[in-house]
Protein backbone atom coordinates (compact mmCIF):
# COMPACT_ATOMS: atom_id res chain seq x y z
CA UNK A 1 0.00 0.00 0.00
CA UNK A 2 2.93 2.32 0.68
CA UNK A 3 4.10 1.90 -2.90
CA UNK A 4 0.62 2.57 -4.29
CA UNK A 5 0.27 5.68 -2.17
CA UNK A 6 3.70 6.95 -3.17
CA UNK A 7 2.93 6.33 -6.83
CA UNK A 8 -0.41 8.16 -6.59
CA UNK A 9 1.26 11.06 -4.80
CA UNK A 10 4.03 11.45 -7.37
CA UNK A 11 1.64 11.09 -10.33
CA UNK A 12 -0.80 13.52 -8.73
CA UNK A 13 1.79 16.20 -8.09
CA UNK A 14 3.12 15.70 -11.63
CA UNK A 15 -0.31 16.02 -13.24
CA UNK A 16 -1.09 19.12 -11.19
CA UNK A 17 2.17 20.82 -12.11
CA UNK A 18 1.58 19.94 -15.77
CA UNK A 19 -1.81 21.67 -15.53
CA UNK A 20 -0.17 24.77 -14.09
CA UNK A 21 2.52 24.62 -16.80
CA UNK A 22 -0.20 24.58 -19.47
CA UNK A 23 -1.32 27.99 -18.20
CA UNK A 24 2.16 29.53 -18.52
CA UNK A 25 1.26 31.52 -21.65
CA UNK A 26 -2.06 32.84 -20.37
CA UNK A 27 -2.29 36.62 -20.31
CA UNK A 28 -2.70 38.23 -16.89
CA UNK A 29 -6.38 38.94 -17.66
CA UNK A 30 -7.02 35.27 -18.34
CA UNK A 31 -5.07 34.17 -15.28
CA UNK A 32 -6.95 36.60 -13.09
CA UNK A 33 -10.28 35.35 -14.43
CA UNK A 34 -9.22 31.71 -13.96
CA UNK A 35 -8.06 32.45 -10.40
CA UNK A 36 -11.29 34.27 -9.63
CA UNK A 37 -13.32 31.26 -10.75
CA UNK A 38 -11.09 28.79 -8.89
CA UNK A 39 -11.32 30.69 -5.62
CA UNK A 40 -14.88 31.84 -6.27
CA UNK A 41 -16.17 28.26 -6.47
CA UNK A 42 -14.74 27.45 -3.04
CA UNK A 43 -16.03 30.68 -1.60
CA UNK A 44 -19.56 30.31 -2.99
CA UNK A 45 -19.74 26.79 -1.58
CA UNK A 46 -18.03 27.27 1.79
CA UNK A 47 -19.37 30.72 2.61
CA UNK A 48 -22.83 30.61 1.04
CA UNK A 49 -24.25 27.23 0.01
CA UNK A 50 -22.91 25.12 2.90
CA UNK A 51 -23.83 27.54 5.73
CA UNK A 52 -27.25 28.03 4.14
CA UNK A 53 -27.79 24.26 4.08
CA UNK A 54 -26.64 23.87 7.68
CA UNK A 55 -28.90 26.76 8.72
CA UNK A 56 -31.90 25.27 6.96
CA UNK A 57 -31.14 21.95 8.61
CA UNK A 58 -31.16 23.53 12.07
CA UNK A 59 -34.42 25.36 11.36
CA UNK A 60 -36.01 22.20 9.91
CA UNK A 61 -34.97 20.07 12.89
CA UNK A 62 -36.65 22.57 15.25
CA UNK A 63 -39.83 23.12 13.24
CA UNK A 64 -40.55 19.79 11.62
CA UNK A 65 -42.33 16.96 13.45
CA UNK A 66 -40.09 13.90 13.80
CA UNK A 67 -41.80 11.81 11.19
CA UNK A 68 -41.18 14.47 8.56
CA UNK A 69 -37.49 15.03 9.21
CA UNK A 70 -35.83 12.28 7.19
CA UNK A 71 -38.20 12.50 4.23
CA UNK A 72 -37.84 16.29 4.10
CA UNK A 73 -34.08 15.98 4.32
CA UNK A 74 -34.05 13.54 1.42
CA UNK A 75 -36.43 15.63 -0.68
CA UNK A 76 -34.30 18.71 0.01
CA UNK A 77 -31.13 16.89 -0.99
CA UNK A 78 -32.61 15.93 -4.36
CA UNK A 79 -34.26 19.31 -4.91
CA UNK A 80 -31.26 21.43 -3.96
CA UNK A 81 -28.66 19.47 -5.91
CA UNK A 82 -30.84 19.32 -9.02
CA UNK A 83 -31.61 23.02 -8.75
CA UNK A 84 -27.88 23.77 -8.81
CA UNK A 85 -27.53 21.61 -11.93
CA UNK A 86 -30.39 23.44 -13.63
CA UNK A 87 -29.36 26.97 -12.60
CA UNK A 88 -27.87 27.87 -16.02
CA UNK A 89 -30.99 26.94 -17.99
CA UNK A 90 -33.23 28.55 -15.36
CA UNK A 91 -31.20 31.76 -15.32
CA UNK A 92 -32.31 33.06 -18.70
CA UNK A 93 -28.64 33.68 -19.50
CA UNK A 94 -26.68 31.97 -22.24
CA UNK A 95 -27.58 31.13 -25.82
CA UNK A 96 -27.89 33.68 -28.58
CA UNK A 97 -30.97 35.75 -29.41
CA UNK A 98 -30.88 34.70 -33.09
CA UNK A 99 -30.71 30.96 -32.33
CA UNK A 100 -33.93 29.37 -31.09
CA UNK A 101 -32.56 25.81 -31.18
CA UNK A 102 -30.83 26.32 -27.82
CA UNK A 103 -32.45 26.91 -24.41
CA UNK A 104 -35.86 26.51 -26.02
CA UNK A 105 -37.77 24.62 -23.35
CA UNK A 106 -40.08 25.83 -20.54
CA UNK A 107 -37.46 25.23 -17.86
CA UNK A 108 -39.15 27.28 -15.15
CA UNK A 109 -42.37 25.29 -15.51
CA UNK A 110 -40.42 22.01 -15.33
CA UNK A 111 -38.63 23.24 -12.22
CA UNK A 112 -41.91 24.24 -10.56
CA UNK A 113 -43.29 20.77 -11.32
CA UNK A 114 -40.13 19.15 -9.93
CA UNK A 115 -40.37 21.29 -6.79
CA UNK A 116 -44.05 20.45 -6.37
CA UNK A 117 -43.54 16.73 -6.88
CA UNK A 118 -40.69 16.57 -4.34
CA UNK A 119 -42.57 18.66 -1.77
CA UNK A 120 -45.69 16.54 -2.28
CA UNK A 121 -43.71 13.32 -1.98
CA UNK A 122 -42.15 14.52 1.29
CA UNK A 123 -45.56 15.41 2.77
CA UNK A 124 -47.15 12.11 1.71
CA UNK A 125 -44.20 10.05 2.97
CA UNK A 126 -44.20 11.98 6.28
CA UNK A 127 -47.94 11.46 6.78
CA UNK A 128 -47.61 7.76 6.06
CA UNK A 129 -44.80 7.46 8.58
CA UNK A 130 -46.87 9.22 11.21
CA UNK A 131 -49.86 7.01 10.51
CA UNK A 132 -47.69 3.91 10.68
CA UNK A 133 -46.14 5.03 13.98
CA UNK A 134 -49.62 5.79 15.40
CA UNK A 135 -50.75 2.32 14.32
CA UNK A 136 -47.76 0.78 16.07
CA UNK A 137 -48.46 2.71 19.26
CA UNK A 138 -52.12 1.64 19.18
CA UNK A 139 -51.09 -1.97 18.64
CA UNK A 140 -48.68 -1.76 21.57
CA UNK A 141 -51.41 -0.29 23.80
CA UNK A 142 -53.94 -2.92 22.68
Amino acid sequence: MRAVRALLLVAGVGFGLWGVWLMRDFTSDRLLSTGTWLAGGILVHDAVLAPLTVGLGIVASRLLPHHFRAVTGLAFLVWATLTVVFLPVLSGQGGKPDNDTILNRPYLLSWLVLTGVLAGAAVVAGLRRRARAAGRTAADAG
Binding site: G16, F26, H45, I102
Partner: protein, 399 residues
Amino acid sequence: MRLPTVDDVERLIPRPDDFTSRARGTGLSARVGIVLGVAFGICFLTGLWSHVQYDPPGWLPIGPQPTQLYRITQGTHVITGIASIPLILVKLWSVFPRLFIRPPRGPRALLVEALERASIGALVGASIFMLASGLLNIAQWYPWDFSFRATHYAVAWVAIGSLLVHIAVKLPVIRQALGAPLDEGTDDGPNDSPDERPTDDDLLTRRTVLGGALVSAGLAALLTAGQTVPFLRKISVFAVRDGEGPQGLPINRTAKAAGADETAMDPNFVLELIVGGTTMTFDREQLAALPQQTHRLPIACVEGWSRNAEWTGVSVRDLIALAGADPRSDIVVRSLQTKGAFGVSVLPKQFVEDPRTMLALELNGETLSLDHGYPCRIIAPNRPGVLQTKWVQQLEVRS
Protein backbone atom coordinates in the same frame (compact mmCIF):
# COMPACT_ATOMS: atom_id res chain seq x y z
CA MET B 1 -16.13 47.44 27.02
CA ARG B 2 -13.05 45.85 25.56
CA LEU B 3 -12.00 44.93 22.09
CA PRO B 4 -12.70 41.30 21.10
CA THR B 5 -9.62 39.11 21.34
CA VAL B 6 -8.57 36.35 18.96
CA ASP B 7 -10.06 33.87 21.40
CA ASP B 8 -13.43 35.64 21.31
CA VAL B 9 -13.50 35.42 17.53
CA GLU B 10 -12.30 31.83 17.60
CA ARG B 11 -15.19 30.91 19.88
CA LEU B 12 -17.63 32.20 17.25
CA ILE B 13 -16.27 29.85 14.60
CA PRO B 14 -17.97 26.47 14.80
CA ARG B 15 -16.01 23.36 15.64
CA PRO B 16 -16.43 20.03 13.85
CA ASP B 17 -18.39 18.70 16.85
CA ASP B 18 -20.94 21.47 16.49
CA PHE B 19 -22.31 19.81 13.35
CA THR B 20 -24.80 17.38 14.77
CA SER B 21 -26.23 15.58 11.76
CA ARG B 22 -25.23 11.94 12.18
CA ALA B 23 -25.80 11.37 8.49
CA ARG B 24 -22.41 12.88 7.83
CA GLY B 25 -19.49 10.55 8.24
CA THR B 26 -16.42 8.98 6.74
CA GLY B 27 -18.41 6.00 5.46
CA LEU B 28 -20.61 8.33 3.40
CA SER B 29 -17.72 10.55 2.26
CA ALA B 30 -15.73 7.53 1.12
CA ARG B 31 -18.59 5.95 -0.81
CA VAL B 32 -19.78 9.13 -2.53
CA GLY B 33 -16.12 9.95 -3.13
CA ILE B 34 -15.52 6.67 -4.95
CA VAL B 35 -18.49 7.21 -7.28
CA LEU B 36 -17.38 10.80 -7.85
CA GLY B 37 -13.80 9.69 -8.46
CA VAL B 38 -14.94 7.23 -11.13
CA ALA B 39 -17.08 9.96 -12.71
CA PHE B 40 -14.11 12.35 -12.76
CA GLY B 41 -11.97 9.65 -14.32
CA ILE B 42 -14.53 9.18 -17.11
CA CYS B 43 -14.76 12.96 -17.62
CA PHE B 44 -10.98 13.27 -17.73
CA LEU B 45 -10.42 10.49 -20.27
CA THR B 46 -13.30 11.50 -22.57
CA GLY B 47 -12.14 15.10 -22.20
CA LEU B 48 -8.60 14.23 -23.29
CA TRP B 49 -10.09 12.29 -26.18
CA SER B 50 -12.10 15.33 -27.23
CA HIS B 51 -9.08 17.59 -26.85
CA VAL B 52 -6.92 15.57 -29.25
CA GLN B 53 -9.64 15.60 -31.93
CA TYR B 54 -8.79 19.21 -32.72
CA ASP B 55 -5.19 18.51 -33.59
CA PRO B 56 -4.77 14.73 -33.73
CA PRO B 57 -1.20 13.50 -33.16
CA GLY B 58 -0.10 11.13 -35.94
CA TRP B 59 0.23 8.10 -33.68
CA LEU B 60 -3.40 8.19 -32.56
CA PRO B 61 -5.86 6.19 -34.67
CA ILE B 62 -8.41 8.98 -34.98
CA GLY B 63 -10.35 8.48 -38.19
CA PRO B 64 -13.82 8.18 -39.68
CA GLN B 65 -14.52 4.86 -37.93
CA PRO B 66 -16.44 4.16 -35.76
CA THR B 67 -18.86 6.73 -37.18
CA GLN B 68 -20.63 7.48 -33.88
CA LEU B 69 -17.57 7.33 -31.61
CA TYR B 70 -17.10 11.03 -30.87
CA ARG B 71 -20.83 11.38 -30.44
CA ILE B 72 -20.71 8.73 -27.71
CA THR B 73 -17.52 9.89 -25.98
CA GLN B 74 -18.54 13.55 -25.86
CA GLY B 75 -22.12 12.72 -24.88
CA THR B 76 -20.67 10.61 -22.05
CA HIS B 77 -18.33 13.44 -21.05
CA VAL B 78 -21.14 15.95 -20.62
CA ILE B 79 -23.65 13.52 -19.05
CA THR B 80 -21.05 12.31 -16.53
CA GLY B 81 -20.03 15.87 -15.69
CA ILE B 82 -23.66 16.83 -15.06
CA ALA B 83 -24.23 13.74 -12.90
CA SER B 84 -21.13 14.66 -10.86
CA ILE B 85 -22.68 17.89 -9.60
CA PRO B 86 -25.13 16.33 -7.09
CA LEU B 87 -22.38 13.93 -6.03
CA ILE B 88 -19.83 16.66 -5.32
CA LEU B 89 -22.41 18.71 -3.41
CA VAL B 90 -23.25 15.75 -1.16
CA LYS B 91 -19.56 14.91 -0.78
CA LEU B 92 -18.74 18.48 0.27
CA TRP B 93 -21.72 18.48 2.63
CA SER B 94 -20.46 15.32 4.25
CA VAL B 95 -16.95 16.69 4.91
CA PHE B 96 -17.91 20.31 5.60
CA PRO B 97 -17.30 20.13 9.39
CA ARG B 98 -13.68 19.19 8.69
CA LEU B 99 -13.17 22.71 7.34
CA PHE B 100 -13.31 23.85 10.98
CA ILE B 101 -10.69 21.51 12.40
CA ARG B 102 -8.26 23.70 14.35
CA PRO B 103 -4.67 23.72 13.16
CA PRO B 104 -2.42 21.36 15.11
CA ARG B 105 0.44 22.60 17.31
CA GLY B 106 4.05 21.98 16.43
CA PRO B 107 5.76 23.12 13.24
CA ARG B 108 5.98 19.68 11.64
CA ALA B 109 2.31 18.81 12.16
CA LEU B 110 1.40 22.28 11.04
CA LEU B 111 3.34 21.89 7.81
CA VAL B 112 1.71 18.52 7.03
CA GLU B 113 -1.71 20.00 7.78
CA ALA B 114 -0.99 23.03 5.59
CA LEU B 115 0.11 20.82 2.69
CA GLU B 116 -2.97 18.63 2.98
CA ARG B 117 -5.22 21.69 3.18
CA ALA B 118 -3.54 23.13 0.09
CA SER B 119 -4.13 19.90 -1.85
CA ILE B 120 -7.78 19.87 -0.71
CA GLY B 121 -8.10 23.51 -1.75
CA ALA B 122 -6.70 22.71 -5.20
CA LEU B 123 -9.01 19.70 -5.50
CA VAL B 124 -12.18 21.51 -4.43
CA GLY B 125 -11.37 24.67 -6.41
CA ALA B 126 -10.43 22.80 -9.57
CA SER B 127 -13.38 20.39 -9.29
CA ILE B 128 -15.94 23.16 -8.88
CA PHE B 129 -14.21 25.07 -11.67
CA MET B 130 -14.46 22.12 -14.07
CA LEU B 131 -18.10 21.36 -13.32
CA ALA B 132 -19.23 25.01 -13.29
CA SER B 133 -17.36 26.04 -16.43
CA GLY B 134 -18.56 22.93 -18.28
CA LEU B 135 -22.16 23.42 -17.18
CA LEU B 136 -22.17 27.07 -18.26
CA ASN B 137 -20.37 26.33 -21.52
CA ILE B 138 -23.01 23.86 -22.72
CA ALA B 139 -25.59 26.63 -22.23
CA GLN B 140 -23.34 28.98 -24.24
CA TRP B 141 -23.02 31.27 -21.26
CA TYR B 142 -19.47 32.59 -20.85
CA PRO B 143 -19.22 34.94 -17.85
CA TRP B 144 -15.41 34.90 -17.81
CA ASP B 145 -12.36 36.31 -19.58
CA PHE B 146 -10.46 33.06 -20.18
CA SER B 147 -10.51 30.83 -23.23
CA PHE B 148 -12.82 27.97 -22.31
CA ARG B 149 -11.06 25.20 -24.18
CA ALA B 150 -7.50 25.98 -23.05
CA THR B 151 -8.50 26.64 -19.44
CA HIS B 152 -10.94 23.73 -19.04
CA TYR B 153 -8.13 21.54 -20.36
CA ALA B 154 -5.36 22.92 -18.10
CA VAL B 155 -7.46 22.92 -14.91
CA ALA B 156 -8.52 19.32 -15.68
CA TRP B 157 -4.93 18.25 -15.03
CA VAL B 158 -4.92 20.14 -11.74
CA ALA B 159 -8.23 18.52 -10.75
CA ILE B 160 -7.10 14.99 -11.59
CA GLY B 161 -3.65 15.56 -10.08
CA SER B 162 -5.04 16.83 -6.78
CA LEU B 163 -7.57 13.97 -6.82
CA LEU B 164 -4.72 11.44 -7.04
CA VAL B 165 -2.93 13.19 -4.16
CA HIS B 166 -6.18 13.14 -2.17
CA ILE B 167 -6.61 9.40 -2.79
CA ALA B 168 -2.98 8.80 -1.78
CA VAL B 169 -3.50 10.70 1.48
CA LYS B 170 -6.88 9.11 2.29
CA LEU B 171 -6.30 5.54 1.14
CA PRO B 172 -6.06 4.07 4.69
CA VAL B 173 -9.14 6.04 5.78
CA ILE B 174 -11.08 4.90 2.71
CA ARG B 175 -10.18 1.25 3.29
CA GLN B 176 -11.19 1.48 6.92
CA ALA B 177 -14.46 3.25 6.09
CA LEU B 178 -15.41 0.69 3.47
CA GLY B 179 -14.73 -2.12 5.95
CA ALA B 180 -17.23 -0.74 8.47
CA PRO B 181 -21.03 -0.74 8.13
CA LEU B 182 -22.26 2.54 6.60
CA ASP B 183 -24.66 3.53 9.35
CA GLU B 184 -22.66 2.56 12.42
CA GLY B 185 -23.17 5.09 15.17
CA THR B 186 -26.00 7.17 13.74
CA ASP B 187 -28.26 6.64 16.76
CA ASP B 188 -29.36 10.01 18.03
CA GLY B 189 -30.86 8.37 21.15
CA PRO B 190 -30.08 10.01 24.50
CA ASN B 191 -30.56 13.60 23.30
CA ASP B 192 -34.27 13.06 22.79
CA SER B 193 -36.85 12.79 25.54
CA PRO B 194 -38.42 9.30 25.64
CA ASP B 195 -41.83 10.27 24.20
CA GLU B 196 -40.41 12.11 21.26
CA ARG B 197 -37.66 9.65 20.50
CA PRO B 198 -38.13 8.78 16.88
CA THR B 199 -38.22 5.36 15.38
CA ASP B 200 -34.98 4.61 13.57
CA ASP B 201 -36.25 5.36 10.08
CA ASP B 202 -37.23 8.91 11.10
CA LEU B 203 -33.60 9.95 11.14
CA LEU B 204 -31.75 10.75 7.98
CA THR B 205 -29.29 7.89 7.71
CA ARG B 206 -26.07 7.77 5.74
CA ARG B 207 -27.62 5.08 3.58
CA THR B 208 -30.50 7.42 2.72
CA VAL B 209 -28.14 10.28 1.88
CA LEU B 210 -26.00 7.99 -0.27
CA GLY B 211 -29.12 6.73 -2.04
CA GLY B 212 -30.38 10.29 -2.44
CA ALA B 213 -27.08 11.40 -3.95
CA LEU B 214 -27.16 8.54 -6.47
CA VAL B 215 -30.82 9.16 -7.33
CA SER B 216 -30.11 12.85 -7.77
CA ALA B 217 -27.12 12.15 -10.01
CA GLY B 218 -29.22 9.75 -12.05
CA LEU B 219 -32.06 12.24 -12.36
CA ALA B 220 -29.65 15.02 -13.39
CA ALA B 221 -28.35 12.75 -16.16
CA LEU B 222 -31.79 11.52 -17.23
CA LEU B 223 -33.33 14.99 -17.33
CA THR B 224 -30.56 16.39 -19.59
CA ALA B 225 -29.22 13.45 -21.63
CA GLY B 226 -31.94 13.74 -24.28
CA GLN B 227 -29.84 16.28 -26.13
CA THR B 228 -27.71 13.38 -27.29
CA VAL B 229 -29.67 10.19 -26.46
CA PRO B 230 -32.62 10.11 -28.92
CA PHE B 231 -35.09 8.07 -26.84
CA LEU B 232 -34.68 10.43 -23.86
CA ARG B 233 -35.52 13.54 -25.88
CA LYS B 234 -39.04 13.85 -24.43
CA ILE B 235 -37.98 13.04 -20.87
CA SER B 236 -35.05 15.45 -20.74
CA VAL B 237 -37.05 18.55 -19.94
CA PHE B 238 -33.96 20.36 -18.61
CA ALA B 239 -31.75 19.67 -21.64
CA VAL B 240 -30.19 22.71 -23.28
CA ARG B 241 -31.35 21.35 -26.66
CA ASP B 242 -34.51 19.47 -27.56
CA GLY B 243 -32.94 18.03 -30.72
CA GLU B 244 -35.19 20.11 -32.96
CA GLY B 245 -34.24 22.85 -35.37
CA PRO B 246 -34.72 23.94 -38.95
CA GLN B 247 -34.55 20.89 -41.26
CA GLY B 248 -34.70 18.63 -38.20
CA LEU B 249 -31.35 19.59 -36.68
CA PRO B 250 -30.24 22.09 -33.99
CA ILE B 251 -27.85 24.91 -34.88
CA ASN B 252 -24.78 25.81 -32.88
CA ARG B 253 -23.94 29.11 -34.55
CA THR B 254 -26.10 31.02 -36.99
CA ALA B 255 -24.80 32.50 -40.24
CA LYS B 256 -25.38 35.95 -38.80
CA ALA B 257 -23.36 35.22 -35.67
CA ALA B 258 -20.55 33.87 -37.86
CA GLY B 259 -20.66 36.92 -40.12
CA ALA B 260 -21.37 34.75 -43.15
CA ASP B 261 -25.01 35.67 -43.84
CA GLU B 262 -24.36 38.07 -46.72
CA THR B 263 -21.48 36.37 -48.54
CA ALA B 264 -23.20 32.98 -48.30
CA MET B 265 -26.27 34.26 -50.16
CA ASP B 266 -24.22 35.98 -52.89
CA PRO B 267 -25.52 34.65 -56.26
CA ASN B 268 -21.99 34.86 -57.65
CA PHE B 269 -20.65 32.43 -55.02
CA VAL B 270 -18.03 29.98 -56.26
CA LEU B 271 -16.19 27.26 -54.38
CA GLU B 272 -12.45 27.38 -54.93
CA LEU B 273 -10.51 24.13 -55.13
CA ILE B 274 -6.76 24.68 -54.96
CA VAL B 275 -4.45 21.84 -55.96
CA GLY B 276 -0.78 22.58 -56.40
CA GLY B 277 -0.59 25.94 -58.15
CA THR B 278 -3.96 25.74 -59.89
CA THR B 279 -7.37 26.84 -58.76
CA MET B 280 -10.63 25.34 -60.03
CA THR B 281 -13.94 27.01 -59.30
CA PHE B 282 -17.43 25.56 -59.03
CA ASP B 283 -20.66 27.47 -58.61
CA ARG B 284 -23.43 25.79 -56.70
CA GLU B 285 -25.17 24.50 -59.86
CA GLN B 286 -21.97 22.85 -61.00
CA LEU B 287 -21.55 21.21 -57.61
CA ALA B 288 -25.12 19.95 -57.74
CA ALA B 289 -24.51 18.53 -61.23
CA LEU B 290 -21.66 16.30 -59.96
CA PRO B 291 -22.51 12.76 -58.78
CA GLN B 292 -24.33 13.05 -55.45
CA GLN B 293 -24.33 10.68 -52.49
CA THR B 294 -26.50 10.46 -49.40
CA HIS B 295 -25.33 9.26 -45.98
CA ARG B 296 -26.76 9.27 -42.50
CA LEU B 297 -24.11 10.94 -40.33
CA PRO B 298 -24.19 12.65 -36.93
CA ILE B 299 -23.47 16.20 -35.94
CA ALA B 300 -21.80 15.72 -32.55
CA CYS B 301 -21.06 18.98 -30.81
CA VAL B 302 -18.38 19.42 -28.16
CA GLU B 303 -21.19 20.94 -26.04
CA GLY B 304 -22.62 17.47 -25.70
CA TRP B 305 -25.60 17.54 -28.04
CA SER B 306 -25.75 15.38 -31.12
CA ARG B 307 -28.15 14.16 -33.76
CA ASN B 308 -28.05 12.03 -36.88
CA ALA B 309 -29.19 13.52 -40.19
CA GLU B 310 -29.29 12.58 -43.85
CA TRP B 311 -26.73 14.54 -45.78
CA THR B 312 -26.54 14.70 -49.58
CA GLY B 313 -23.60 16.10 -51.48
CA VAL B 314 -20.38 15.50 -53.36
CA SER B 315 -17.79 13.10 -52.02
CA VAL B 316 -14.71 15.18 -51.17
CA ARG B 317 -12.47 12.41 -52.46
CA ASP B 318 -14.19 12.45 -55.88
CA LEU B 319 -14.19 16.23 -55.97
CA ILE B 320 -10.44 16.61 -55.47
CA ALA B 321 -9.86 13.75 -57.93
CA LEU B 322 -11.39 16.03 -60.60
CA ALA B 323 -8.37 18.27 -60.04
CA GLY B 324 -6.04 15.28 -60.12
CA ALA B 325 -5.32 15.31 -56.36
CA ASP B 326 -4.43 12.19 -54.39
CA PRO B 327 -7.16 11.25 -51.86
CA ARG B 328 -4.42 10.62 -49.29
CA SER B 329 -3.95 14.36 -48.73
CA ASP B 330 -4.86 16.72 -45.93
CA ILE B 331 -7.23 19.49 -46.98
CA VAL B 332 -7.35 23.00 -45.55
CA VAL B 333 -11.00 24.07 -45.40
CA ARG B 334 -11.75 27.81 -45.35
CA SER B 335 -15.15 29.19 -44.49
CA LEU B 336 -16.89 32.40 -45.50
CA GLN B 337 -17.32 33.14 -41.81
CA THR B 338 -15.68 36.33 -40.56
CA LYS B 339 -16.46 36.06 -36.84
CA GLY B 340 -15.61 33.46 -34.23
CA ALA B 341 -13.23 30.51 -34.10
CA PHE B 342 -12.70 27.64 -36.54
CA GLY B 343 -13.12 29.63 -39.75
CA VAL B 344 -10.23 27.54 -41.05
CA SER B 345 -9.95 23.82 -40.31
CA VAL B 346 -7.83 20.95 -41.52
CA LEU B 347 -9.51 17.81 -42.83
CA PRO B 348 -6.88 15.09 -42.23
CA LYS B 349 -6.27 12.56 -45.02
CA GLN B 350 -7.85 9.63 -43.21
CA PHE B 351 -11.16 11.52 -43.37
CA VAL B 352 -10.58 12.60 -47.00
CA GLU B 353 -10.05 8.97 -47.97
CA ASP B 354 -13.44 7.92 -46.56
CA PRO B 355 -15.92 8.14 -49.45
CA ARG B 356 -18.66 9.32 -47.05
CA THR B 357 -16.81 12.55 -46.25
CA MET B 358 -18.62 15.08 -48.36
CA LEU B 359 -19.26 18.62 -49.29
CA ALA B 360 -22.94 18.57 -48.37
CA LEU B 361 -25.53 20.51 -50.39
CA GLU B 362 -28.69 19.04 -48.85
CA LEU B 363 -29.86 18.19 -45.35
CA ASN B 364 -32.71 15.73 -44.73
CA GLY B 365 -33.85 16.04 -48.35
CA GLU B 366 -33.91 19.84 -48.54
CA THR B 367 -31.44 22.41 -49.80
CA LEU B 368 -29.08 23.19 -46.92
CA SER B 369 -30.49 26.19 -45.06
CA LEU B 370 -28.32 29.25 -44.49
CA ASP B 371 -27.80 28.49 -40.79
CA HIS B 372 -26.81 24.91 -41.58
CA GLY B 373 -24.06 26.11 -43.93
CA TYR B 374 -25.52 27.07 -47.33
CA PRO B 375 -24.14 27.02 -49.99
CA CYS B 376 -22.10 23.98 -48.93
CA ARG B 377 -20.49 22.50 -45.82
CA ILE B 378 -18.14 19.73 -44.80
CA ILE B 379 -19.61 16.60 -43.23
CA ALA B 380 -17.27 13.82 -42.15
CA PRO B 381 -17.98 10.79 -39.95
CA ASN B 382 -16.76 10.85 -36.33
CA ARG B 383 -15.66 14.48 -36.04
CA PRO B 384 -16.50 17.21 -33.50
CA GLY B 385 -19.26 19.44 -34.85
CA VAL B 386 -17.11 22.55 -34.73
CA LEU B 387 -14.82 20.99 -37.38
CA GLN B 388 -17.76 20.25 -39.71
CA THR B 389 -17.06 23.60 -41.35
CA LYS B 390 -20.07 25.51 -42.67
CA TRP B 391 -20.27 28.05 -45.52
CA VAL B 392 -17.24 26.48 -47.19
CA GLN B 393 -15.56 28.85 -49.61
CA GLN B 394 -12.25 27.15 -50.36
CA LEU B 395 -10.64 23.71 -50.24
CA GLU B 396 -6.87 23.69 -50.49
CA VAL B 397 -5.28 20.28 -50.98
CA ARG B 398 -1.96 20.00 -49.23
CA SER B 399 0.61 18.03 -51.14
